[in-house]
Symmetry: C2
Subunit: 214 residues, 2 copies
DNA sequence: TAGATTGTTAATCGATTAACAATC
DNA sequence: TAGATTGTTAATCGATTAACAATC
């Protein structure tokens, strides 16, 4: 399968397109031009056309883009119809909230197990997913072959757990631990680091700049 | 106060520097050169020197950077010692987890109130912060003058709440709602959108690309 | 057809990297 | 001092924007 590599700024914008097109679809908008969409989204029409053309010609000259067709196409590109089997590690505050709050199936994931090192949590259920002890993870992975893991564990545990999970066949990591997961020299492993704390600190910077502006 | 505007890629890297320098400090590393740090962080020495020099000359020729001095300086730039009064709106799964999981004081924030529209939640406490009814927010803001708000509310509520909060003097928004908060034409308001779902979808894209690579 | 709007090439802008003189 | 490494300028690279011919 020869595909041109898409740049990361483009990929990061795709979910946003998907979201805005979903809104438009809800409002029964049938067609939209790159210019109209650019005004709604606060970017340039040029950029939208460039971005979309990375994946093919979704539009039609003189007409624009069909909202629901385009949304569907972007959804396919993002793989929202996949059912990537996913496990979540760490049933603390954040882990529980992610398990409950995120609509995994809608984004191409299927949450099939939650793991924690605290035996007291074992046996419970979080949004209908069983919480198992971390020691069961090898057996579980051999049996169910998950491809993706959500890491909601402390920094100290992250490095160790990650290498175990890679050995067990995990290919994708959604990392919330306060640790920079980096897998060099292996294109088959994909990592998205979230770093809520970093995000909060950029807000701190901006807020202090804004407050001290005058 | 004349300050050159720092570009957003630089600002987004600052918390990461801060984190790595913290690790080094823990390991009792006294000094580090831009080259050594670049290897640890997976970026170029040039970039590190460029980034740091946006804020002043923290290094010393022939020596490098003093780890703990540099960390402290970056912390000051990021405003980690501020005590920006902050409220959190929406005591659902995510709101509760954020309130419990994030160490606000360590990042320059002080969480002073949590608000929810559900009367059943009113009167409870989440990590020692009172949960109040959303109708109390005006009184509360007038009394305590918070400057920052964390939004953990559904998309439908976001737009309305935001404009109310702006009217009540909120200057910074950490937005977790599935809605793109954009404040145009007002530099005094700062927004950081988190969009966990978008993040998950970029993982979906990467994962599907990786899995279909061969 | 004429008008609108895309797809795509070319120009610009900004961010990253390289190079090196200054200096500890 | 000599060696190391910064601060900073210049070169490169990539991403965004502008322009316009193609075409619905």
């Amino acid at each position: 399968m020869s595909k041109t590599l898409i740049s990361s700024p483009v990929i990061k914008r795709l979910p946003r397109y998907y979201r805005f097109l979903g809104e438009l679809e809800k409002q029964d908008v049938i067609r939209i031009s790159s210019r109209e969409l650019s005004e709604k989204m606060g970017l340039t029409a040029s950029q939208i056309r460039q971005d979309l053309n990375c994946f093919g010609g979704f539009g039609q000259q003189g007409y624009g883009y069909n909202v629901s067709t385009l949304r569907k196409s972007i959804g396919e590109i993002l793989g929202v119809d996949s059912k990537n089997k996913t496990i979540l590690i760490g049933a603390g505050n954040l882990g529980k909230a992610i398990a409950r709050h995120i609509d995994f199936p809608k984004r191409g994931f299927e949450l099939i197990g939650i793991f924690d090192s605290n035996p007291e949590k074992t046996g419970t259920t979080i949004s209908d997913v069983n919480v198992l002890h971390i020691d069961d993870i090898q057996r579980f992975c051999n049996e169910h072959n998950p491809v993706c893991a959500v890491l909601c564990i402390p920094r100290e545990a992250a490095e160790d757990i990650t290498s175990r999970l890679i050995a067990l066949g995990i290919k994708g990591f959604w990392n919330f631990s306060h640790y920079d997961l980096r897998i060099d020299h292996d294109d088959s492993i994909v990592v998205v680091n979230v770093h809520l704390t970093d995000s909060l600190m950029t807000l701190s910077y901006g807020l202090n700049s804004a407050l001290n502006q005058n």
